[in-house]
Amino acid sequence: MAEEQAVRVGLQLLELARARGAGSLLVVGTGKNVGKTVAMRAIYEAACDSGLRVGVASAGLDGEAVDQIETHPKPRLWLRAGTILATAAGALPRSPASEILGVSRLRSAVGRLVYARAAGTGFYELIGPSTASGLREVLDELSALSEFVIIDGAIDRLAALAGGHDAIVVAGGAATAKTVQEAADEIRALVQRLGVARFDPDDAVVRVQGALTVTQIGRLIALREQRQIVVRDPTQIALRGKALSQAFVKLRIRCERPLHVMATTIASIGPEWSLEPRTLVRAVAAATGLPTFDVYAGARAP
């Protein structure tokens, strides 16, 4: 197994995304407190340092000082002047004043969304649209206003991005797994699910309308189905754990509109326990086959 290397994590993730021609990058996590926002910030800093006009948004509530669900402290978003952001009108700080670029008809959980340009550096709270289709609209609008867009994502909102060229980074770590193996399995499962390949139109298919459930999978495995099992997009695969791994071993699951998972990040420190960072980054890289970064340690494997 290759040794991990000391790297500028944000810059490497940015370069990976741009090398794929992606104008936007979404960070999604296996759960809460797995370093999503920390990864996003590292990429953001690298993009700003590269001289790019950066757009940022969240797929839901984000940027609060304290996690809304688990009340753990969360990293806040310190944005530089010139950054384009989408957030709820009521979440924009009164000072420093921002340049208001537009008011969307979309609503977030706490009111309508606005597009603004940060005129001064400061802490910003990002609150995103409440629907998946809204996220697509926000991404398109930010893409029109900036050169590179970074989204603090949520898995259930990814459907709107399927079929596009947006790059996805999966974050995971000690917050949701007690052992290195458990964390690696969890990240691999999510990468596998989101990374389902596009179906081959020249090969036979069984199309699944809506979500692919455990019951359907059980039936298809029992029937020894050989055709491609095609869902609309990877978010329609409603499977976890053993059912998911069984499904990928025994069936050819494909989708119409794929997503593009390009890397993973790990957070070895959770709110209650931590995992050994080097072992974790190597294990996740080995499990997923993707470049894996430890944002906290500034390391990459392989």
Binding site: A6, V38, P75, E99, I100, E276, A297
Partner: protein, 534 residues
């Protein structure tokens, strides 16, 4: 749009009221607000109804499609400034999003006024308040069309921002020096995040000064930065400068909010007028698209039209490459309408109702000419109108209950459109009921049109009799069983025009011909003709 007592749900459905509402819907939030309150004109309000229809028709006639589209596109994407106006009027200091909305609001009014300048029926909306506010907000206009609380609003704000920029520069320099030193001492390229891991195996000696350990593990340390005194001093300077900017920004906001408050009443008036313009432009577009013209609104309950169309069907037919046959009719009391199946009796009734609804809402009507009274209620009875009454009753019982409801409401004058009432009971009694209905309508001073297949109703009810002209000849069924081809053959053979019948009703056998056309076998059709001749 509120149909209020003019239409109940069943009648609204039968007469495609929702289609009309969609066709005349405005595009802006201001228009939606006015549209939500739109109600039909009542008998006695002929003059305002006429004025509204004339104004819309004038706009439609004088405004070319390009300018109409341009004005609607300006309105479509306009954010709602009403909330900001209301908040300022209540004494609140507005946030910058509110100023952005107000600036866009003023811009849109000025733009639309310029676009529609000189159009008959369109008065300019820009008033002194719009001009004053537009001028007050001008310093905030950015090159991309946004709004920023710029230094141009206030010299103190400008000065405070300069102080902040300087303080930030000093802080950034101090912090960069610290970060660079610590990264160098740790042997790393950079310290990218506030909390970072240092592997014990990488550590040569102790941690550099300025690094605090948050958590220790056997192989690594979770650390954070602790700034030195010069950096902390720069941080305090920056915080003071940021506070100064916040105060200066809030002062500018308070001044601008006071300006909005000062002009709130006139701004609200402009918002209402903008909404009304949007609603009128939507109606003008409807009139242009569907070649509508204003009806002569009569104080009498009459319904008279030439070359009228039931637009929902006309649009559907056009999309299918076919054409609607325009209808002529004059109705001033009660009348009976007969004609073959699929000859357009129901469509004639729907045309009557649609024209009357358009007139009631002060809209130009889809007809070459029309004279229409304002009705207290436009009601539909018969096919399609009884669904809401539940499943336990027979079709006939539902119709009777519905008629009782309509008569019970007693909103005069009534326009009642009856599509084959009592068709499911025996023809003898059905006819008697229709005659009684004609008599009852006459006594109520109502206008009514009763479509039926039963013969002799007009004669016995002493009512005028209209008929669909019907099949021009017996069409030959198409060679295939393709329903589309059969319908096309039928359409080509049918004269959908309505004509008044003055003499005795000639017996017709169009139903059997239609049966043949729709593909029933020859033996069946022949048997029907034989039975008819006996």
């Amino acid at each position: 749009v509120k149909p209020l007592a003019l239409l109940d749900d069943a009648s609204a459905q039968a007469l495609a009221f929702d289609w009309l509402v969609d066709a005349i819907a405005p595009v802006s939030v201001y228009g939606e607000r006015v549209f939500d309150e739109l109600r039909p004109y009542r008998p006695g309000e002929e003059r305002p109804a006429q004025e509204r229809a004339d104004r819309i028709a004038a706009i439609a006639a004088n405004l070319d499609g390009g300018r109409l589209h341009g004005a609607r596109e300006t309105l479509r994407n306009l954010p709602d400034a009403s909330g900001a106006i209301a908040r300022a009027a209540l004494g609140e200091t507005l946030v910058d999003v509110g100023f952005f909305e107000l600036q866009r609001f003023c811009d849109a009014i000025e733009h639309v006024d310029a676009l529609l300048s000189g159009i008959r029926g369109v008065a300019p909306i820009t008033n002194a308040a719009v001009r004053a506010l537009s001028q007050a907000l001008e310093a905030g206009r950015t090159t991309g069309g946004g709004f920023y609380l710029a230094g141009g609003f206030d010299t103190e704000l400008e000065r405070a921002r300069r102080r902040l920029t300087q303080a930030e520069g000093e802080l950034d320099a101090a912090r960069a020096r610290e970060l660079e030193r610590i990264a160098r001492q740790l042997g790393r390229n950079d310290i990218g995040v506030d909390e970072f891991v240092v592997m014990r195996s990488d550590l040569r000696g102790s941690l550099p000064p300025g690094v605090r350990v948050l958590r220790e593990a056997s192989t690594y340390l979770l650390c954070t930065l602790e700034y030195d005194e010069p950096t902390l001093a720069a941080l305090r300077d920056r915080a003071r400068a940021a506070d100064g900017v916040a105060v200066a920004e809030e002062n500018v906001r308070a001044r601008l909010s006071a300006k909005v408050r000062e002009h709130a009443a006139q701004l609200e008036e402009a918002a209402r007028e903008l909404g009304e313009l949007d609603v009128h432009l939507a109606a003008a577009r409807f009139a242009q698209c569907h070649e509508c013209s204003p009806a002569a609104i009569s104080p009498e309950p009459v319904l008279s039209f030439v070359r009228a169309r039931f637009l929902p069907l006309a649009v559907e037919l056009t999309a299918a490459g076919r054409a609607f046959t325009p209808l002529d009719l004059e109705l001033h009391d009660v009348a009976v309408l007969t004609g073959p199946n699929m000859g357009g009796k129901s469509v004639c009734l729907q045309t009557c109702g649609f024209i009357a609804i358009c007139a009631a809402f002060g809209l130009p009507v889809p007809a070459g000419f029309a004279r229409v009274g304002l009705f207290g209620e436009i009601a539909w009875l018969g096919i399609g109108g009884e669904d809401e009454l539940g499943g336990l009753l027979s079709t006939f019982a539902k119709e009777v209950l519905r008629l009782r409801e309509i008569f019970g409401r007693g909103v005069p004058p009534l326009l009642l459109l009856v599509d084959e009432f009592a068709r499911t009971t025996n023809p003898h009694e059905g006819k008697a009921l229709l005659v009684a209905l004609l008599d009852s309508l006459r006594k109520r001073g109502a206008l009514g049109m009763l479509a039926t297949h039963l013969g002799g109703v007009a004669r016995e009810g002493r009512a005028r009799h209209f008929a669909v002209r019907g099949l021009l000849g017996i069409p030959r069924p198409p060679a295939t069983s393709d329903l589309g081809k059969a319908l096309a053959t039928l359409a080509a053979s049918m004269d959908y025009a309505i004509a008044e019948v003055t003499g005795d009703e000639a017996p017709r056998a169009d139903a059997i011909a239609l049966t043949a056309l729709l593909g029933m076998d020859g033996a069946f059709v022949d048997a029907a003709y034989r039975a008819l001749s006996q």
